[in-house]
């Protein structure tokens, strides 16, 4: 099938020829998954399996995407549309993944904690409030950086000030969405220099966001005593922001690859699916952040 001339694919859907990548990628996933299960149970082989699987999967994806890039001149607009639809539905699945954690946050905050406080029999003296780390968890001390004496008591924790790093991060991410759009417009107007500059700024803003997020985590763990184990507040805070940070990392990586491809001149004003897919993904992590900023940090 794949041996047809480029003319052929103007009227025919591109059905790629057979490939060993999916099979080998599945083996890599097997190693990562089984290695992960071994790791959390303290087996020494776990990290080794994960390393083998991780390197295997990363290399496979590199080779796979390289082949797709090489084939892409043969893809007609129908294939392009399939890719777009695929990306859109993938982002929908990501939205639902975050919805599970936002749902958990809602349930814990508005139902579980009040119910625990209602039953005097079980946890006498526990009062419903948010943030809460539960009846046996650490107690909240202050709405900012606690004093040294406060931190020395191991069962106390402080909160991240939403108007400090989180606010900067909000502005950074929102700005990055704008710069990305400027870059996209430049691409459509065939202005390659502008495309590259604004895209590079976007990636830099993404990295800056991540750096601030790491700073915030260090502050939370070392100064505020706020950890993943700080009851339901710590759980929801770190799981939501953590998964978001992971997605920002992925999105920045995608945009970085897109940037390299822009520099190589892979895209035309009409055909640049990967650019748009990366942009959609970036806007998606942006929107999730706005949700986090409101529901996790401010409220």
């Amino acid at each position: 099938m794949a041996s047809h001339s480029p003319e052929h694919y103007k009227t025919h859907y591109y059905v790629p020829d057979s490939s060993v990548y999916p099979f080998v990628s599945s083996i890599a996933l097997f190693f990562i998954a089984l290695g992960g299960a071994s790791l959390v149970n303290g087996y020494a082989i776990g990290p080794k399996m994960m390393t083998i699987g991780g390197i295997g999967l990363a290399s496979l994806l590199f080779i796979w995407f390289r082949r797709v890039i090489a084939e892409s001149p043969d893809y007609n607009m129908d294939v392009d549309k399939s890719f777009r639809m695929g990306m859109a539905w993938f982002i929908f699945s990501e939205v639902m993944f975050f919805a599970a954690f936002f749902g958990a946050l809602y349930y814990l905050r508005n139902l579980a904690v009040p119910w625990l406080a209602e039953t005097e029999l079980l946890w006498p003296g526990f009062e419903a409030m948010w943030p809460s780390s539960g009846p046996l968890g650490a107690q909240i001390v202050t709405n900012g950086v606690p004093s040294a004496t406060e931190i020395s008591e191991a069962t106390k924790y402080g909160l991240i000030d939403p108007l400090h790093l989180p606010l900067y991060n909000t502005l950074i991410l929102l700005t990055s969405s704008v710069t990305l759009t400027i870059s996209h417009h430049a691409l459509r107007a065939s202005n390659r220099a502008q495309t590259i500059i604004w895209l590079a700024i976007t990636v830099a803003l993404g990295v800056w966001f991540l750096a601030l997020q790491v700073t915030e985590y260090i502050e939370a763990y070392q100064q505020l005593g706020l950890t993943l184990g700080t009851g339901v507040y710590g759980s929801t805070f770190f799981m939501l922001t953590g998964f978001h940070g992971f997605h920002v990392t992925l999105g920045a990586f995608i945009l970085f690859i897109v940037l390299l491809r822009c520099m190589k001149g892979h895209f035309t004003p009409e055909r640049h699916f990967v650019f748009e897919a990366g942009a959609w993904y970036w806007h998606f992590v942006d929107v999730v952040w706005v949700g986090l900023f409101i529901f996790v940090y401010i409220l």
């Binding site: 099938m1 009227t11 025919h12 859907y13 059905v15 790629p16 020829d17 057979s18 490939s19 060993v20 990548y21 999916p22 099979f23 990628s25 599945s26 996933l29 097997f30 998954a33 089984l34 992960g36 299960a37 959390v40 149970n41 129908d78 399939s82 890719f83 639809m85 695929g86 539905w89 993938f90 929908f92 699945s93 990501e94 639902m96 993944f97 919805a99 599970a100 749902g103 958990a104 349930y107 814990l108 139902l111 579980a112 625990l116 079980l122 809460s132 780390s133 539960g134 046996l136 968890g137 950890t227 993943l228 184990g229 009851g231 339901v232 507040y233 710590g234 759980s235 929801t236 799981m239």
Partner: protein
């Protein structure tokens, strides 16, 4: 547009002999492990599903053997619990879901007139993840403490305390989720983007419609399940407190998230079955499907309602009264679109020139038996009644009527219906009918008595029971072994049909509707290289 397509079609007919040279199939490893062909990948899915059906079935027979008599005979209770858990996980994620994906792979491109699935390499990846995911799940039998034994629903807090097998189940579920989501994206994109000219959405065969909606459900809920098991994993190993009241959490939260996935999941397992039935009945009643558009809207309505009924699985967990009432009424509402479907099938048969080949027997069997499962579901939907039925064998009987005599029997009917198209040979009609009757009769012997057991109060998931439940359990066990052994006949029929038999014609049946019946039997390796035109 359609003029040029017609011209292409003529050219294509002219070229057919040359095309045959192009039709070279890869062989061996290249064909089966590196495939980008929807038919081969569909076959792989179907073989995988059948293998898992036997594996899960063998576990069911261990359960039934133990329950033949009160007291402990063959296995210890912990192993019994591993059997109930693994039987369900394997049947749900290994047999039923991949089975339907196999049907979708084979039939959706043929039915919409596409050359292949929209994203063929990803299609192969969706499949190949599954054998590895199930290897991990099955390896859990050999770790300390054995396989997961907390029930397929993996409820916290029991699973927070379990051994390494729970982690293996979690990572296996993550892999299955990746596979399902990629498979579902592929089906949606194929359906929306690759239809032949003239094939409007409202001209699509019902099977394609049901799979389109099923794929939407999959993308919407598999990530939620991934979220639930991720919270479980972090509660187990990283000190989070999602399901731990001491940290402000709540084990009931797991149930809510699980069933937000779990209820759409049961429709994921039944909607494609509805699709298959909606293809079979018109063919053998020799009438078009009655109420096509109402069928489409009923499917969409069921999908919508599936998102707002999840808590009917947990009426006894202690919810506020308003919650119990809302979920009761919402659940009962589902019987309206489901009823529309059943009436449409019956009305399609009304005054049709009916014949009763094996696929039709299956279709009629499904309409009868699934409806019984639907009615027991209606009983379970009534909150106060459910307090009595909850976690009894009545529930077990209910979901086996919808899952076995709904989903699995629909797939068996679909297999007989399309097998001639897949392999080019007719199956042996006498043996096919034998298989139908053996399956149906033994199925009812197995599961009908479980209604009585449940109503009398026998709880599910126990290795032992009081002596007054003995007789019904013995009926059930005898039926289960008969049901299991009858499936060997199914394998025999499939294998012998693939190997030889009467040549099937292009149409196979008497003037059936649909593009799949316009390509030769067996369907050539590449079909619809040039899009056909649908008027």
């Amino acid at each position: 547009m359609s003029d040029t397509a017609v011209a292409h079609g003529h050219d294509h007919a002219h070229d057919h002999d040359h095309d045959h040279d192009h039709d070279h199939k890869p062989t061996g490893f290249r064909r089966w492990f590196m495939s980008t062909n929807h038919k081969d990948i569909g076959t792989l899915y179907l073989i995988f599903s059948l293998t898992m059906l036997f594996l899960g079935g063998a576990m069911a027979l261990v359960i039934r053997a133990e329950l033949f008599q009160p007291g402990l005979q063959f296995v210890d209770p912990h192993f019994f619990n591993q059997m109930t858990t693994m039987h369900a996980l394997i049947m749900v994620f290994g047999a039923v879901m991949p089975g339907f994906v196999g049907f979708a792979n084979w039939m959706v491109p043929l039915m919409v007139g596409a050359p292949d699935m929209a994203l063929p390499r990803m299609n192969n990846w969706s499949f190949w993840i599954l054998p590895f995911a199930f290897s991990i799940l099955l390896l859990s039998f050999f770790v300390p403490g054995g396989a997961p034994a907390a029930g397929w629903t993996l409820y916290a807090p029991l699973t927070v305390q379990g051994g390494m097998s729970v982690d293996m189940a979690i990572v296996a579920i993550h892999m299955m989720g990746i596979s399902s989501i990629m498979g579902a994206i592929n089906i949606i994109v194929t359906t929306l983007n690759m239809r032949a000219p003239g094939m409007t959405l409202m001209k699509m065969p019902m099977f394609v419609w049901t799979w389109l909606i099923t794929a939407f459900l999959l993308i919407a809920v598999m990530p939620v399940f991934a979220g639930a098991v991720t919270m479980l994993l972090t509660d187990r190993h990283f000190g989070t407190a999602f399901f731990n009241p001491a940290g402000g959490g709540d084990p009931v939260l797991f149930q809510h998230i699980f069933w937000f996935f779990g209820h759409p999941e049961v429709y994921i397992m039944i909607l494609p079955a509805f699709g298959i039935i909606s293809q079979i009945i018109p063919t053998f009643a020799r009438k078009p499907l009655f109420g096509y558009s109402s069928m489409v809207f009923a499917t969409a309505a069921i999908a919508f309602l599936s998102f707002i009924v999840w808590a009917h699985h947990m009426f006894t967990v202690g919810m506020p009264l308003q919650g119990e009432l809302f979920f009761m009424y919402a659940t009962m509402l589902i019987s309206v679109p489901t009823g529309v479907k059943v009436f449409n099938w019956v009305t399609t048969m009304w005054r049709g020139s009916m014949t009763f080949e094996t696929p039709m027997l299956y279709a009629i069997g499904v309409v009868f038996l699934f409806t019984m499962g639907g009615l027991s579901g209606l009983m379970l939907a009534i909150t106060p009644a459910d307090f009595q039925y909850h976690d009894t064998y009545f529930v077990v009987a209910h979901f086996h009527y919808v899952l076995f005599s709904g989903a699995v029997m629909a797939m068996m009917g679909g297999t007989f219906y399309w097998l001639p198209k897949w392999c080019g040979h007719m199956y042996n009609e006498t043996l096919g009918k034998w298989h139908f009757w053996l399956t149906t009769i033994f199925f009812n012997i197995t599961f009908f008595p479980q209604h009585f057991l449940g109503l009398a109060g026998m709880p599910r998931r126990y290795a032992d029971y009081p002596i007054q439940f003995t007789e019904f359990n013995q009926w059930s066990t005898v039926g289960a072994f008969g049901l299991g052994i009858s499936q060997l006949l199914f394998v025999y029929i499939i294998v012998s049909t693939v190997r030889g038999g009467k040549k099937a014609t292009t149409e196979v049946w008497d003037n059936p509707e649909g593009l799949e019946w316009t390509v030769p039997s067996p369907a050539p390796f590449h079909t619809f290289d040039e899009p056909p035109v649908v008027k």
